[in-house]
């Protein structure tokens, strides 16, 4: 076997070997270590411990909360996403194209910054809206309380419903409108058509979007961390964080973490499996011909009210929280009124230039994201090339390893990286920036593979063969033909990693050391320490970077990029 392998070793095998090695070290080992640590103690299966940990009220509560939050967010996101998708693709709502873009804006904004904004608006003690309502109606108590399951579900929904929206709007647009028209000429009214034709045909798209929402919500750290911990509500990721943070990284805490993580891995696996089933079952051919325009439902009298409702929704979920962050970020102290005397750019100057901690955080996030994006992009090309173009056996392992991180939540990756890189194999990266760097590569590799594979599939084999026929070596044809052709895909991959990494919180919050805070961690820590104003200022900086970055992507790709 070994002999056969080395007997015909060529560039293909070397590439495959390097790719597999990178994926195993960076992705597979951490995940396997988590499962191993969760299941085995001193080399033997240990179910007693697992049951013991799971039956503790704290962990049990966390599991339950994760389910409740994920369930609520999924249901709400599905309703909102389907409704708005139908509105922009099947009715005569004005400004539809603009609305479509606006509904996707929450995709690019980090949800934990949104949670921060809603805390400032609706916290029972000092929320601006609460105070405002108490003042004008002379109430005895604040009418809203954002802390708790309800608040968490509401805020997560604002940021996750675009998953459903984008799936369903796409499906509705691709659907052949004569499918509905033939039902109409058969005598069916709008309600019957919706119930018996449109909804069943949209079901795969709706389910796919809903399952994505469930996947993200189940493993989501930021919003529950900001809106839940205050009132003692934990979900799985925040529980893992709390355990490890409180015990200073003790083994017991890490073991609890691995058991909870294993549950997340299994749940995520099940969700992705279900999504696969749904999408496969839903391969209906409902793609429209070229010149078909759907008949749009005339909203008539409801047109303006629905438009106002949609704009109000966008105002409340996007503009209001964003504006709150920017405004609070300029205040002298948190809680005072927004008047000119109270506002200044002092805070901005302070966190950008004077305060070591925030300055470091910005710099750390910047170079870590940049380095991770560069490395992941290059390695991604290598692996995608092997998967798409090389005719080598065993490349299915690569495909599997490549998409694995899609189903592994950020918290789990962080934990796996801790297990792998804190001295167990002779390398200890704990408390250094390297450990975050390695985690980012693991977390974002799947994005790079997706983008680069898509680009490579566009490059016909004959182009490369033509170069080889002209006398170019394999390497020359790669350098002179393939790479130039897939450059747009590579650039897209770079930004798809750079921007999310820049605002990342879930993974780095478990990995940071005294000098290696990221922007996300710094905002989170400032908020925890009661430095609400500085948290807002730093969040404003993050938002500006994100918005500028998105505009740059738009210019480069000239298509809407589906951020994650």
């Amino acid at each position: 076997m070994l002999k056969r392998f080395f007997g015909k070793i060529g560039i293909a095998e070397v590439l495959l070997f390097i790719s597999v090695l990178i994926l195993i070290v960076v992705v597979a080992v951490p995940v396997l270590l988590i499962l191993w640590t969760a299941l085995f103690v001193d080399g033997s299966l240990n179910t007693k411990d697992i049951i013991h940990i799971l039956s503790q009220p704290g962990t049990y509560e966390a599991l339950k909360n994760s389910l409740v939050i994920a369930g609520g967010v999924t249901v709400l996101s599905t309703i909102i996403g389907v409704f708005f998708a139908w509105l922009v693709s099947r009715t005569d709502l004005p400004f539809k194209e603009t609305m479509k873009v606006l509904f996707l804006v929450p995709f690019m904004l980090p949800s934990f910054i949104g949670a921060l904004a809603w805390k400032m608006l609706l916290s029972p003690r000092s929320g601006y809206i609460n105070k405002f309502l108490v003042d004008i109606f002379s109430l005895d108590a604040s009418p809203f309380n954002i802390y708790g399951l309800g608040g968490i579900i509401a805020v997560e929904t604002m940021y996750l419903f675009p998953f459903v929206f984008i799936q369903v709007a796409g499906a509705l647009e691709r659907m052949d409108p004569t499918l509905e028209e033939s039902a109409r000429i058969s005598g069916a009214g709008l309600l019957t058509i919706t119930r018996r034709i449109t909804l069943p045909l949209m079901l795969p798209g709706i389910a796919a979007g809903a399952l994505l929402v469930a996947l993200y919500s189940l493993a989501h750290f930021g919003v529950p961390a900001i809106l839940g911990t205050e009132s003692g509500i934990y979900n799985i990721p925040t529980k893992i964080y709390e355990q490890i943070y409180q015990s200073g990284g003790s083994f017991v805490a890490i073991r609890t973490g691995t058991i909870l993580s294993s549950i997340l891995i299994v749940a995520a696996g099940l969700i992705l499996y279900a999504q696969n089933l749904v999408l496969r079952a839903g391969r209906f051919q409902v793609i429209a011909g070229k010149s078909m325009r759907p008949t749009l439902l005339k909203l008539r009298g409801l047109k303006i009210p629905i438009l106002i409702f949609s704009l109000l929704y966008i105002f409340i979920t996007v503009i209001l929280p964003t504006a709150t962050i920017f405004l609070v970020g300029t205040l002298k102290t948190y809680g005072i009124a927004f008047t000119w005397e109270n506002m200044s750019l002092q805070n901005l100057k302070y966190i950008l230039f004077d305060w070591r901690m925030t300055r470091d955080a910005i710099w750390n996030s910047f170079y870590l994201s940049l380095a991770a994006a560069m490395i992941t992009m290059v390695v991604g090309v290598l692996i995608s090339y092997t998967i798409v173009k090389m005719k080598v056996r065993g490349k299915f392992i690569l495909e599997f390893l490549g998409v694995l991180p899609f189903s592994v939540p950020g918290t789990v990756i962080a934990l796996g990286v801790i297990l792998t890189w804190s001295g167990k194999f002779g390398i200890n990266l704990y408390n250094t920036a390297w450990i975050i760097f390695v985690a980012y590569i693991a977390r974002y590799m799947a994005f790079s593979l997706k983008s680069n594979s898509a680009a490579l599939e566009q490059v016909d084999d004959s182009l490369e063969e033509a170069a080889r026929a002209c006398g170019a070596t394999h390497w020359q044809s790669l350098r002179d033909i393939v790479i130039p052709l897939i450059k747009p895909g590579m650039v897209a991959a770079f930004f798809l990693i750079f921007l999310p990494a820049l605002r990342e919180l879930t993974t780095s919050v478990l990995l940071y050391g005294p000098t290696t805070r990221t922007i996300g961690v710094a905002i989170y820590a400032l908020n925890e320490d009661g430095e609400t104003v500085y948290a807002a200022t730093l969040a404003s900086v993050a938002l500006v970077i994100i918005i500028v970055g998105q505009l740059v992507i738009k210019r480069i790709t000239r298509t809407t990029v589906q951020g994650v």
Partner: protein, 352 residues
């Protein structure tokens, strides 16, 4: 009283006038085709009849009843019109099996179960789908999918059947077969057909009358044979088959190809209706013969084998003429001199 009547129908999309002042009267049980190039407004017209599009001007009535009227701002919704309709892209519902696809319009009308069963099975039988009741459309071929659409349309026994290029997604052989089946169904059920197509042979084979339209304007409404023999204008002539349009001039009591008087006259019989000196002569390539004397002299520029038929491009002076002849009538080589006789031709003014 006509069965379906379109009166002065106009439809605009922004600056585009998709249909312009259309008047049609279609008889009970007639098969009426609308023929024209893509984008000429056929689908728009059919969709206005079906009720999917409002009309900017005019009125549509079926029997004694007004279905659409711009003046009264009245539009009977499509689901109330009791039409059968078949679309180009089949539009069968992929999540329902054949039986449920066909039974849908009957179930919507809340017919009793036994009647739904009976009518569905009859429609399935007549469209040759027997035995496929429990199959899902994805497992069937294009032709079978279009049969489901047909069965679904005839299930309610409609008096009017609308078909929008129903055969253009099928391969040519199947297309011909389905044409006969549609005619057969009409004979059995007696519905009125409004049939939209851009394929002139299809329209010729199926219809009692054909409407030829261009840019939303009616060019001619007539029987297939009249459309072929007496096209109302150059557009209809060219749309209905291969055609030559030759510039000709009249002098010395004969008709000559313009600038090629030395090649000899086309004919000395000048029809009385011709008054102008310069005209356009329209003739189909198959109506031109090679003769050995008494024709117009020319030279074969190019010949192409099209199977049994040979396609020639012959120069008469500086004017190129297309001729198609069976190879059994002899073969002319490229560069060879020849003589052409023009058999059946029509006249049009230079500008029309």
């Amino acid at each position: 009283m006509a069965h379906v009547r379109l009166w002065n129908i106009t439809k605009k999309y922004g600056d585009v006038t998709a249909v312009n002042r259309l008047n049609i009267e279609i008889e009970q049980g007639e098969c009426f085709s609308m023929l024209g190039p893509s984008g000429c407004g056929k689908t728009t017209t059919l969709r206005m009849v079906a009720g999917f599009e409002d009309i900017d001007e005019g009125e549509i009535s079926v029997g004694q009843k007004v279905f659409s009227s711009s003046a009264k701002k009245f539009y009977l919704p499509p689901e109330k019109r009791d039409f059968g309709m078949v679309f180009q892209a089949f539009a069968v519902w992929p999540h329902m099996n054949v039986f449920n696809n066909v039974a849908f319009p009957l179930q919507i009308r809340k017919m009793p179960k036994s009647e739904v069963l009976e009518r569905t099975q009859r429609a399935i039988k007549y469209t040759g789908l027997g035995g496929c009741e429990n199959t899902f459309p994805n497992e069937l071929s294009g032709g079978q999918k279009q049969r489901i659409a047909l069965a679904r349309a005839i299930a309610i026994n409609p008096t009017v059947m609308l078909l929008d290029e129903p055969l253009s997604n099928l391969d040519p052989k199947l297309r011909e077969e389905m044409r006969f089946e549609i005619k057969d169904l009409q004979r059995k059920f007696g519905f009125t057909i409004i049939y939209v197509t851009h394929d002139q042979t299809e329209a010729m084979a199926l219809s009692h009358r054909i409407l030829v339209m261009d840019h939303g304007v009616v060019q001619q409404i007539d029987t297939p044979i009249n459309i072929y023999k007496n096209p109302a204008n150059k557009f209809v002539f060219s749309f209905i088959g291969l055609s030559n349009f030759l510039p000709v001039e009249i002098h010395d009591g004969a008709i000559y190809i313009e600038g090629a008087a030395e090649s000899g006259p086309i004919t000395r019989l000048i029809p009385p209706e011709i008054r102008e000196k310069k005209m356009t002569l329209a003739i189909r390539p198959a109506e031109i013969d090679f003769v050995t004397d008494g024709g117009v002299c020319g030279m074969v520029r190019k010949m192409t084998y099209l199977g049994d038929v040979i396609d020639y491009r012959v120069m008469l002076g500086s004017v190129e003429v297309r001729v198609q002849k069976s190879r059994r009538k002899g073969i002319y080589r490229e560069g060879e001199a020849c003589m052409l006789k023009f058999n059946r031709f029509l006249w049009y003014g230079r500008e029309s």
